[in-house]
């Protein structure tokens, strides 16, 4: 190889090193912010009686909008869980997004749904709504049955039929904890400029579910699912909590977030031209708010929980990560005007650049880094022990970051009561850097390539359903 190529590889190795230092520096910083923020949050909960706050009739009515597509396995259980939430005034709008299975039939049978009148209150464009049904036994349950148009389209349809000032966007296959709404609505009471708040997602695989409630929390048996438990702890408790402490939340998970209806409708609803409609909406809410000078706050609340089933097979997980990466890329390129633009405040100067350079471009840099490091070692142009030591640092640092997420969990919510589960999380923190992380990088690179090719599909997500205990009838 020519000297020019070797020089290029040498320069690229420095790019990889810089990326490595920046990425882990940000992770460490958000973990530190999260430590302080979680401690303060725990103390704050001690000084506020949430139930008293909510039951004092000042809590805004909420519509839960749950898009459902081929959810026949889990939909009845999930809707039951939604109907048992502790909140004084809410209704449930399940939006059937043209399912080809028996989702509508199962729901109709279980909740005695019948045709009802409900005129739309907004006119966001969506696929055709075929019928609106309402439960005879649970008057707060509605089903909007529409042609298939994707998740964003289904959420927009729900939004068109939403009558409450605040709505909760979620997945129909998620299980909200009974106090989830009471806890997540708090920012809307404390700050009238709040337009959105996100809660935490936890993995339900391995947990016991009874009558739509998670009654026993355990780590899943499946190793892939175990890695995702650790990953979710890191993403939510260290990452999102840290960004929220900086008032620069750029993503609220589509599986559980609440929004001010008027703000979302004014912003044009969910974008249907991206598979990352959850992040795109948050970025757009920031953008519209900043450009129109409208006060807008976006919060992350760490204790309202939505339990979700995660993929246990490599194929399904790969598809999910591919989609997440495509959504990220589509969102960030669509709103690239915000990148390093001081007009957009901390979001434009901190969060957006982080997601753009480190989360969007990161997997490509990381993957090419593995290749260029290997070439450098094989060609004898670098001391193998030096590169090995660097890789050891990378693994150890990854472990420290994951362990800090486990420590945050112990500091705050301690949802895994068994000591054996805690010890397994320690082991996973070391193990995930030896294979799982690299696989993730590979799937995300594939996602980047899919986005560049213009791929738009969601990919099939196979659900096996929750580990449900039979009803005893008592």
């Amino acid at each position: 190889m020519s000297d020019l190529v070797w020089s290029a590889i040498g320069v690229f190795n420095w790019v990889v090193l810089t990326y490595f230092v920046l990425l882990n520096g940000v992770y460490l910083a958000t973990s530190l912010f999260a430590f302080g923020a979680l401690r303060r949050y725990a103390l704050r909960l001690r000084s506020l009686d949430l139930t008293d706050l909510i039951t004092s009739a000042g809590a805004p009515p909420i519509s839960l909008i749950a898009p459902a597509y081929n959810e026949e396995v889990t939909c009845v259980e999930s809707v039951r869980s939604l109907l048992s939430i502790e909140y004084p005034d809410y209704e449930v709008l399940v939006v059937n997004d043209g399912s080809s299975d028996d989702t509508v039939a199962r729901l109709t049978e279980a909740f005695q749904l019948e045709p009802a009148s409900r005129i739309p209150t907004a006119s966001l464009p969506t696929a055709e709504v075929k019928q609106v049904l309402r439960s005879r036994t649970q008057p707060s349950l509605w089903l909007i049955d529409k042609d298939n148009g994707g998740k964003a389209d289904a959420l927009n349809a729900g939004l068109n039929f939403c009558y409450t000032p605040v709505f909760c966007a979620m997945d129909a296959d998620s299980i909200l904890e009974p106090q989830a709404l009471i806890r997540i609505v708090r920012p809307f009471l404390e700050d009238d400029s709040t337009v959105a708040a996100g809660g935490i997602l936890r993995i339900a695989n391995g947990c016991t579910v009874e009558r739509g409630r998670v009654t026993e929390v355990r780590l899943p048996e499946n190793l892939l699912a175990q890695f995702q438990v650790l990953e979710y702890l890191r993403v939510f408790l260290a990452g999102r909590m840290g960004w929220a402490a900086l008032d620069a939340t750029l993503i609220i998970s589509g599986a559980f977030g609440i929004f001010r209806r008027s703000a979302v409708v004014r912003a044009g609803g969910y974008a249907t031209d991206t598979v990352g409609e959850d992040m795109e909406l948050i970025v757009r809410l920031h953008r519209v708010g900043m450009e129109t000078g409208t006060p807008h706050r976006i919060h992350f609340v760490p204790d309202p929980v939505a339990w979700t089933e995660c993929p246990e097979s490599v194929r399904v997980l790969a598809r999910q990560r591919d989609r997440w990466q495509r959504g990220l890329l589509q969102t960030l390129t669509k709103h690239r005007k915000m990148l390093l633009n001081p007009k957009y405040g901390r979001v434009g100067m901190l969060a957006f650049p982080y997601f753009f350079f480190l989360e969007m471009l990161g997997p490509v840099i990381e993957l090419l880094g593995y290749v260029s490091f290997t070439i450098t070692i094989v060609s004898g142009r670098a001391d193998w022990y030096l590169v090995s030591a660097f890789l050891a640092v990378a693994v150890a640092l990854g472990g420290v970051l994951s362990l800090s997420a486990v420590a945050l969990e112990e500091l705050s919510f301690r949802r895994y009561p068994r000591i054996s589960d805690l010890l397994r999380l320690f082991g996973l923190a070391a193990l995930e850097n030896l294979g799982y992380r690299q696989a993730n990088t590979w799937w995300r690179v594939q996602g980047t390539l899919s986005a560049l090719r213009g791929k738009q599909s969601w990919g099939k997500m196979t659900r096996k359903g929750f580990d449900t205990q039979p009803e005893t009838g008592d």
Partner: protein
């Protein structure tokens, strides 16, 4: 090669390796510390939970016995060690939040000797600690510590001030209403409906002050809107005339909207003249709320205006107009729309079904 490396007889590569090894060692130590921290936290929290469970078991029955027989209060207080004072306060505050009258008085008596432990936390730098202290004093320490709780209304933290306001804004303590109302503008960031509920909880004894504030043009319109919503929650019939005056003279959208809601609930037919001009307002929020008020206040003569509004480009005014048609004596008109398959049939059907059903 830099001099300092030469002095140490190291090459650049060796120096790099040395740095990496140090970093690995530090990370290894970090790993141990974090793992240890998590295990220690687990152990501490488990022990704390066990201790709290044991104390709760020890206190629960005597506290319940004291609530039914206040003479046993001193006996219960003796069960609490000095070091457990804060835990005891945390324990009884859970009950104190949910009871009133005589039962609450007993819980306050039980707490009294332990409350001085809370005072030094009111000086804490952390907002959350001060908020907790005010929560305890506001729930268990009134009226002895009213000076501290009222002073907390001016705390630099809006959270602490709000907790003080909520503690003071109770029906049984109307004497604090002026202090809370005077600071209402401090809570401008809080949700308006939440603030209105807090004010309404003070009961009818403060209605006159709320009316006076609502009518006072020198007060910020947003604050007056909160007072209007509080009067609405109290069902204060005397506020109708003020609401009619406000909608005739004011332009602030939130204030107008709250006033229309108030008129819809407690207005009288003579107020309808103040409402009518707003049914064609350019602002959809004002238009919807004016149409909402037209239903209960209007008469069959208003039905044509309401029918026209059912075609409003914005869905909310159309919905309120349809309800207005129904409530103003136009039920048959709506039934005809449904029967004839009018383009507004769905809307008509919906509001007809709402009666008694929603």
């Amino acid at each position: 090669m830099p001099d300092f490396l030469a002095r140490l007889s190291l090459t650049v590569g060796q120096a790099g390796l040395l740095i990496l090894l140090v970093v690995i060692a530090l990370l290894f130590i970090g790993t141990l510390i974090l793992s240890g921290y998590a295990l220690v936290m687990r152990s501490i929290n488990q022990r704390r939970e066990q201790r709290l469970a044991a104390l709760s078991e020890r206190w629960l029955e005597p506290v319940l016995a004291a609530v039914s027989d206040p003479s046993r209060v001193p006996e219960v207080q003796k069960l609490v060690d000095e070091g457990d004072a804060i835990r005891f306060l945390d324990f009884i505050i859970e009950y104190a939040r949910r009871v009133r009258g005589a039962e609450k008085r007993v819980l306050r008596d039980l707490a009294r000797p332990f409350l001085p432990h809370v005072l030094d936390r009111m000086e804490a730098r952390g907002t959350e600690m001060r908020a907790w202290a005010i929560q305890v004093l506001g729930t268990l320490g009134l009226p002895q510590y009213e000076k501290q709780v009222v002073a907390a209304l001016d705390d630099p933290s809006a959270l602490v001030a709000m907790i003080a306001a909520r503690a003071l804004a109770r029906e049984e303590t109307p004497q604090y209403a002026p202090a809370v109302l005077a600071r209402l503008e401090r809570f401008g960031e809080w949700n308006r409906m939440f603030l209105a509920s807090m004010l309404a909880a003070m009961g009818p004894e403060v209605s006159a002050e709320l009316r006076a504030g609502y009518a006072d043009e020198s007060i910020a319109p947003g604050t007056r809107a909160v007072m209007a919503e509080a009067l609405l929650r109290q069902g204060d019939f005397l506020a109708g005339d003020i609401a009619a005056r406000v909608v005739r003279s004011d332009q602030h959208i939130d204030l107008l909207a709250s006033s229309f809601r108030l008129l819809a609930a407690i207005g009288r037919p003579e107020h309808v003249d103040a409402v009518r001009p707003h049914c064609r307002s350019d602002d959809p929020v004002v238009r919807s709320q004016a149409l909402r008020a037209m239903g209960p206040l209007g008469d069959p003569g208003d039905v044509p205006v309401l029918l026209e509004a059912m075609d409003d480009e914005s869905p909310w005014p159309a919905l309120y107009a349809a309800r207005g048609v129904r409530d103003a004596g136009g039920r048959q008109t709506l039934e005809s729309m449904v029967a004839e398959g009018d383009q507004r049939a769905s809307l008509a059907r919906q509001v007809l079904r709402e009666v008694g059903g929603e």
